[in-house]
Each structure stands twice: as C-alpha cells, then as structure tokens.
C-alpha cells in the first residue's frame, strides 16, 4: 500500500483516463493515511537532558531530513552518520530568543531524504515555513 510516484505526461504523449486514475489512486492513498484529523506532533527533548535515571549521556537525535530549518536550543553538532560529511557546529542562540534557527540548506552534504544526527543540544525540531505553490 506504499505510495508510488505518478509518471508525468511526456511531451507529445496524450493525457489518458489511466493518467487521471493514477492521480486518483495517489490522492486516495494520501487521504487514507491522513484520515480526517490534522495532527501536529510534538518533538521530545534530548533524552540526555531528561530523567536522571537511566544514565543517558550521549543520547542523540536522528532526523530524516524533510524540512528546511532546524530549530534548537543549546550548543551542539550536526553530523553525518556515514562519516563522510564534515561535522557542523551549532551554537546556543541569543538569550533573548532562546530558539536557534539553522538553515539546513547551507550544509553542502545534506540532501532531503538523508538522515543526519544532532548531538549535544537540549532539543531540536525541523520546521518548514511554507512556500510550495500550487
């Protein structure tokens, strides 16, 4: 029941009933997962800063990159689990704002869909401000 991307109509090809039925199938699958209630999940703080028990130093947060900005608090490092990309240091934001914002598109080794790790920060969450126009 996974989502299968729909092939676009190529130049000189005809738009057929099958084309529309593929779009319908895709839309139905999306709404089948979304249901009727819209949900906005919370992120959870880095467990390293959580309960005193268990011993939890060096806990990490790992993302599958899908939004442009990383909101965070505290000093930390963005790292590539494969070890290929260089570590990127992120620093504690201004005390007046509390929340740091890092543009992940500035990291040359990071592509959408890749996984990456954030270590050392108190919490972090990816955020997309919008802008996809239809």
């Amino acid at each position: 029941m996974s989502f299968t991307p729909i092939d676009p109509v190529e130049h000189t090809d005809s738009v057929t009933a099958a084309t529309f039925n593929n779009i319908k199938t895709g839309i139905d699958k999306i709404y089948g997962i979304l249901g009727t209630a819209a949900v906005n999940n919370a992120a959870i703080g880095n467990y390293e800063f959580g309960p005193n028990v268990p011993d939890n130093d060096q806990s990490i947060i790992t993302f599958i990159h899908s939004c442009r900005y990383l909101l965070y608090e505290g000093d930390g490092v963005i790292s590539d689990p494969s070890g290929v990309g260089a570590d990127v240091a992120i620093s504690d934001p201004e005390t007046t704002s509390e929340v740091g914002e890092y543009d992940l598109e500035s990291i040359d080794w990071l592509e959408y869909g890749m996984q990456y790790r954030v270590e050392g920060v108190e919490w972090c969450i990816e955020y997309e401000k919008g802008g996809y126009i239809l």
Binding site: H11, I27, I30, Y31, N40, N41, P54, I64, E98, E128
Partner: protein, 300 residues
Amino acid sequence: MADGNPLSAFGVNQLIEATNFYGQQVFGNNVGWQRFTCYGSLDAIENRFILVHKYDTLYLNIYHTVDFEPLQIYARKAGAGQTTYLIYDSDAIPSGNTTILSIDLSANPGGFSVNPGDVYFVHFEWTNNSGSEMAIIQYVHELEASFWTTPSISTLTASTVINATYLNSIITPVRALRDLDTSTNFGFVGIRTNQYQAQSNTYLRWRLKRINKWLHIGARMINEGILRIYLNDQLIETETKATATTEDFVYLYNMDTIATDLGITAPTYGTDYEIKFRYSDNGAGSPFIRANFVWELPTP
C-alpha cells in the same frame, strides 16, 4: 476549472507533481515517536515537549495504572523572560489505564496564549500516589478534528467525457494538502543508557504508524550485552554480543510479510504499534546501548 476551459498536459503535470510531492511527504518519513516512560512522580526538569503552534487542540495521552494526585500540565512560549503557565491541574484517575486530555489552546487555558508559528514548550508534572508505578506519556500533539475531507473521485473509463466537476474533484483535495506546507518534523530520540530493564518496564520504546513496507531498526551496542526487540510485545530479534567492542547493528523487516516471516501478529495498516528494546547484561565491562533509529520507509 470551468467547463469549456482547455486542459493542457502542463496542467495535468502540475497535479501529478503536487500529488507526488505530498505523497512523498506523507509516506516518506515515518519515524518512531518516543513513548516517554517514568516511574513514580515526574518533575519539571525531567521532560519537555516542543511544538510549533498550528492547531488549537492540545491532545495528551498518558498510560498509568494508579491515580495522579495531582496531574499538572505546564506551557511556556519560547523566549527569554516568558512566563510558565499552569494549563491543567487536577487529580487524574485512569480510565482503562489511560488519561486522555484535549486542551483548547484558543481558550487561553490558565492564561496561556499562543499564536500560529510560535514555538512553545509543554511539560508534565505528577505525583504518583502509589510509589514507583510506571507511567508512559504516549501522545503529545496538536490536532484539529474533521480537518481533512476524504475525497470522492470517480474512476474513469476510456470513453468517459470529463468535465469541470470531475476535474475539481481532483484539484480541490490536492490544493487542500497545502496545509502540509507549514509543517514540522520530529527526530528520532536515540536514547543511550546502561540501565537494564525488563520487557514490561523498559525506557526504550517508540510508537509508529503502520504505513510503509520496510521497518528499519538500528542500535549501537557497546561492550557485552543482550538486546531483545519487541513489536507489540512480540519478540522479533535477539542480539547477543559477547565482545568488549562497539558495534552498530541494523535490522530490516518487510512489514507486508512480517506476520508469516516471524510468526507474529502484524499491526494493521494505518494503526499505531510499539517497538521496544530490552537490554540486559551479558558480562563485564561497562555495557551501553544506544538506539540509532526506528522508522518505516518505502525502501529497504
């Protein structure tokens, strides 16, 4: 779209592009959400949940078997000098071992107000009146009920003449998905610990929704130890490590065939399920475990 307007391949491709874009957003990133486990009372310093405000109902779901006297929920907008507000304060008697709260943020609970796009924090405090019983924070999210309208799109045959009604039945639900443009993405909380826990009371547990074909699980084991992995309390993996080294383990499961592959009851498509790690001692030498990832993906 109106009857009589020309339909171009370009227009159809825009629909395809948008459907693919949102399809990959909905299906492509299915990360396990840590179920926060604690014993006895819970203090402010021990837990923090982070939200970027979007919907007005704050939904909270806690597993507990004994009363909380009281259960208190606090909220604070991010930023220096912001006030922490007590937005819920009451004794909580579990119903079916669960307390579920839906707090209307638009009603300024306890004086707390938040605007769309604001980053804010929620934390729980409770006094467990029966010592060290386990409790689990199972869900923390904002929601808006009846937000999405399930589309009803006809299936075409080669002889069907399409009109504006049909085309709009496709365009309207795709346009509605623009709500996903402003979104957040939580990371996988990779707990590192040296605590040995039983299957029933482990800290290492994550909630997923059954969507994708492939379940990926990764863990780092440091020194000697035994890792057992459970899906809805059914054992699916046992890893015994008997060397004083650091090693990463990766496990891959086909969720379409996992029931027959492993002889377990698989979660139903679209429902939530739980992955748990149980870690236990297997010798000397400062053993640790770190969960690297638990997520479903469309690809192996």
